[in-house]
Amino acid sequence: MSKQPATAASDPYITVIGLEVHVQLQTQTKLFCGCSTRFGSPPNTQVCPTCLGLPGSLPVMNRLAFDLAVRAALALNCKIAPFTKWDRKNYFYPDLPKGYQISQYDLPFSSDGHLEVIDPKGAFSRKVDIIRVHLEEDAGKSMHDEAAGTADTRIDLNRAGTPLCEIVSQPDLRSPQEARGWLNELKLLLVYLGVSDCNMQEGSLRVDANVNLHIPLPGEGGAEGRIAKTPIVEIKNMNSFRSVERALIYEAARQWEEWQATKVEMGKMPKQTRGWDDPAGITRPQRQKEESSDYRYFPEPDLVPVTVSDAEIATARAAMGDPPTVLRAALAEKWKISAYDADVLVNQGRDLVAWYEDLATRVGEGKVASNWMQQDVLRTLNERGGTIAEFPVTPEQVADIIGRVQKGDFDTSRGREIFAEVLTSGKAVADVVASMGIAAVSDDDLVALCQELLAANPKIVADVKGGKEQAAAGLIGQAKKKNPNANPGKVRQMCLDLIKALP
């Protein structure tokens, strides 16, 4: 494992973070019944006897859910167990109709993986071990409207039985920034592989974080020093990766304050659960479910075990597609772009990479295409919102503009204006070029323009002649005024050539 100092050198402690992530698998139907998993339907319209836990109903495992879970585990470099089974996790809560959740206890379908995150700007690089990945069902949703002052909680069971992958990491992360970066990488990976849409607003990805501090204490009287560990706190209720980072920053500082005041170490008090209050920017203690640690797991008698052969694992691996790490390297290599550029493109998703490759193929130069992607396409996309599939300008059109710039019809900044006009007007590139009065300046016109400039600027001509080539810059501004379509590079070169030819 790559252990490097990631906590700021000025901090008198190391922040130790482990994450527990639940992702909703991209299936049409629930884990054990044929009810739809669509988000946002009216309450209790996607329920049946099985997911309501009615007597006499029986669960049957969704093949796609299991396959997607295996794909996620393989992408996280986990070992797939040849034999796996499900267990009942018993607890009472109104959104859990059966009185137990079907989950996995001692024989999860996968374990012992890792996922590495490398910050493209070099701020950190961390390989995080995965303890286990297992497949379980989600609970329903309870809604309590405190403002309405009613005494009732309303229960919607549409979500009950939705397939979830639970991913549990080792406490290998060493800063809130790393935790956020790692979650971004995890999300990117799962979206790339079609495992989950990882939409946090819709609850398709949920994160709990365990955090404590390791504080080096100096030894006294020649004795060796030791590391004091603060009690572990589990943080819940974080609705974005930004919230995860903020909650961890807050919690580390809070534990440091508490440590200085109390000197209480891990093991001296039970693990605490705290909820993140985003508007207030603080964590607050949460009431624990009574006896919540006693789930009395036992094997689920209504489901039979699942076995997975090496051949099936090989098939799943082959069908998986390239993960982002492989794609970044392949893109940088194929199109001769920097690792940073490849990272920016890959992080936008598979569709955008396809769009870029289409553009790069048409332009024939990966670097030029990448510059246009980042400075024009991506910037505009971020401003407008939406996906690349909905983007109104095509790779063909951008390639057309780049081609005209490369031919010398106009310069890049003029090309940008044309791009903006094509974007807003929806017109063809040729029409925009015509309507903006941009016609290619002929060589004869260029010579005439430059001769006019030289005649009007004897001082600049003398300076250039005397060896100060940079003086020619003064001519370019004037050329733009006389003919806005004149290519500055061409004007400069033509003027230098003409001056050199002077006696």
């Binding site: 139907t29 609970a139 229960i155 094997p299 489901l303």
Partner: protein, 100 residues
């Protein structure tokens, strides 16, 4: 194997059953008999028997990811003690929900 009154009281709490002192006494005896009956199995030598995850000798039972009709909301709610026509109603619960 005998159960203690504390064991029975704890199981009662976990099952959300309000047990009186008499209930606990009676069940400590009754449940101990059941556990005692099952514990006869411990007399068997199982050293060379592989652990069993399921009594059926069947594995890999799956269904395809194909939607089936759900119940109507009215059907789903019909046996609920209380509902408001779209949701089940229960006494106020505060705190965390969702899969743990």
């Amino acid at each position: 194997m005998a159960l203690t009154r504390q064991d029975v009281a704890k199981v009662g709490l976990l099952a959300r059953l309000a047990l009186s002192g008499d209930d606990v006494d009676r069940m400590t005896g009754e449940l101990s008999k059941i556990v005692g009956f099952v514990s006869q199995l411990e007399e068997l030598d199982t050293n060379n028997v592989a652990p069993l995850a399921h009594p059926l000798d069947t594995q890999n039972v799956f269904r395809a990811d194909e939607p089936k009709p759900s119940l109507t909301t009215a059907e789903a709610l019909q046996s609920a003690p209380r509902h408001d026509g779209s949701c089940f109603l229960v006494p106020a619960v505060l705190g965390e929900s969702g899969a743990a």
